[in-house]
Amino acid sequence: METVLMDILGAVVTFLVAFVVGMTYGGLSRKITARVQNRKGPPWYQNFIDAFKLGFKKSAIHHGVMHHLGGAFLMVSSVMTLMIVPVLSHNNWFPNLNFQGDLIFLLYIMTFGPLGMALGAGQTGNPNSAIGVTRGLSQMVGFEIPWVLALVALMIQYHTTSITGLMAAQAHSGTWLMFSSPFAFIAAVMAMLGMFRYSPFDIVGAPTELASGPVSENGGKYLFVMMSSGSVFTFAKLTLYVDLFMGGADNLLILLVKTFALYLIPMLYGMTTPRYRTEQAVRWFWGWPSFFGLLAILQAVIF
């Protein structure tokens, strides 16, 4: 009984930490972008203010049940991802519900949110949302290929389908996976560019094309839910990458340093590039990233 209560409490703490860190990263990203663009930029806590304001806004829109559930799907998917990913090793405050085969489950659950979102956006009846959703799903098909290839390579190489297993393998050998299986790391990082939806892969909500795409009918509390689930999801994904390729983290500070270093890659790349068209984006993912994914599998099979 004690442990269950402890686990629930820990889950809440994990969620709060993920929310705060994700939001802060979003704010820092806005700040850094502004500095690159010769501006002063908003304060780093601007995203919190935005989120509070959105939460206080009235929402009198009703497009049907699926529209209401769209945000919930996203939130559920983000929280489930967060719960499976081990945040810190050897820490009671951050329990994880990992199990044998969670890596495969993760692959499924990470696509679950966008699918729910797609249903919700479809019901709003806004053609921008519908086109945005088709674009999002096409892009997901694109980056899933290198991402799955990279993960499969890791599974084959280390004969495990759990994240903790991979972390144990890194601790055992003493080197990070990004050095011992570099091809998988490259493929995964390239897939990450698509996952984070920064430019050039921000085709889903491209404002000048689709007026913010799937969320164009969502304001106020809906947007608040999506914003916070996005922040949680950002943190979960970054932590997953750190766990898989950079040996995990023993305390929060190391985790923050590692995740932020990873977060800088899509952010800085996004500042200097225009946006791809949908078919160009998919083609890009099926080019070099998939090639590196195949190399990773070759490496895993041969060595």
């Binding site: 501006r39 404002p207 000048t208 094309e209 225009p274 946006r275």
Partner: protein, 367 residues
């Protein structure tokens, strides 16, 4: 097949639209099968209002015709009035006018940098160039008192002389811009994704460009050397040394390159103008504007703006009020008919980019 098409309203409230207009497109998947433009959201009936004002009062309305670059409109009107009246313009005023027009050209292209790249998602470029455009607006402000609306090029010359030390400031700004343009090139033209997004998109062939009456950088981007500054020279452009860049592609990329090279030529022209500028009178003073009547007749003057040929057709019945003023906007010819034709078969993602590369300016269409 046609039944499957989704109707998509790009505008009037849409971040991707230039100005305030609407393009109603039908898309199948991502491909546009039909496009209809709808304009008229900005119709203020300028030309009707000018019939109620006198020849000089019209000036306050003129610069609102197209906000990104009001000076060519003023220039066309001033020259048409001078042509009708037979009023001489002092030599110095002509040089100051050219200086003004070229500064306006650069300023408008800086805004275009922002629009073109914003439509493609490269927001950093827009932030840089629109921020740097402020330096040109500062020059305007010092010279004319206004950032956006100048009302400076008047019939008979210009409204006031250059302030002390203005020429040095212009040269310093030009040096700064030249330095910045290198950064812009690194970010924009050397960017593979920018090339991929723009090459082969929105192609206007040579024949089509002539047939549809396309003008300005769009025509030069289709490989036809045509520039009113050379063909039908006004002010002192025939005494200045500059070239008219052309590119063969006819796509967004070619038009972008043409615009990029024209900034370079404008800087060259400004340097020459400042070097050659004579001293003397700057204004051939007009009589009391409330009693200033123009002889009966009509006149048409045209100017090369960043969007192409802008012209002003004025008709006088011998009174203090114009009989008719009719403005020919450069975007007027391609903003509606050509755009509707050009969008068919393009990707829905490229609507905004194509509109920006054509330089569609709705206030100029609707007036």
């Amino acid at each position: 097949m046609r039944e499957k098409a989704t109707t998509l309203y790009i505008g009037p409230q849409h971040p991707g639209i230039t100005g305030n207009m609407m393009v109603k497109v039908q898309v199948e998947g991502d491909t546009i099968v039909k496009a209809r433009t709808e304009v008229g959201y900005l119709h203020r009936a300028f030309e009707k209002l000018q019939e109620r004002r006198n020849w000089l009062q019209s000036f306050t309305l003129l610069c609102r015709f197209c906000v990104p670059e009001p000076d060519p409109v003023e220039e066309s009107y001033a020259r048409a009035v001078e042509l009708l009246e037979g009023r001489e313009v002092p030599e110095r005023a002509k040089y100051i006018r050219v200086l003004m027009l070229e500064l306006a050209r650069i300023g408008s292209y800086m805004l275009w940098y922002g629009g073109q790249n914003g439509s493609l998602g490269l927001y950093t470029m827009g932030q840089w160039s629109v921020g740097d455009r402020n330096y040109i607006l500062d020059l305007f402000e010092e010279l004319t008192g206004g950032r956006v609306y100048h009302m400076y090029i008047w019939p008979g010359g210009v409204r006031r002389d250059l302030p002390e030390g203005f020429a040095e400031k212009v040269l310093r700004t030009m040096d700064y811009l030249e330095k910045r343009l290198k950064d812009y090139d690194d970010l924009m033209f050397d960017n593979t994704i920018f090339q991929k997004r723009t090459q082969g998109v929105g192609i206007i062939s040579k024949e089509k460009a002539v047939e549809w009456g396309v003008v300005g950088p769009v025509l030069r981007g289709s490989g036809i050397k045509s520039d009113i500054r050379i063909d039908d020279p006004y002010e002192v452009y025939d005494k200045l040394d500059f070239i008219v860049p052309t590119h063969e592609g006819g796509d967004i990329w070619s038009r972008a390159l043409v615009r990029r090279q024209e900034i370079r030529q404008s800087i060259r022209i400004i340097r020459q103008v400042i070097e050659q500028m004579p001293s003397g009178e700057y204004y051939n003073r007009i009589p009391n504007p409330h009693k200033w009547a123009l002889p009966k007749g009509d006149a048409y003057a045209r100017t090369e703006a960043t969007r192409g040929e802008v012209g002003m057709y004025i008709v006088s019945d011998g009174g203090v009020h114009p009989r008719r003023i009719h403005f020919r906007g450069a975007a007027y010819v391609h903003g509606i008919t050509l755009l509707e034709d050009l969008l068919i078969g393009e990707n829905v993602a490229d609507i905004s980019a194509i509109m920006n590369s054509l330089g569609t300016c709705p206030p100029e269409i609707e007036r």
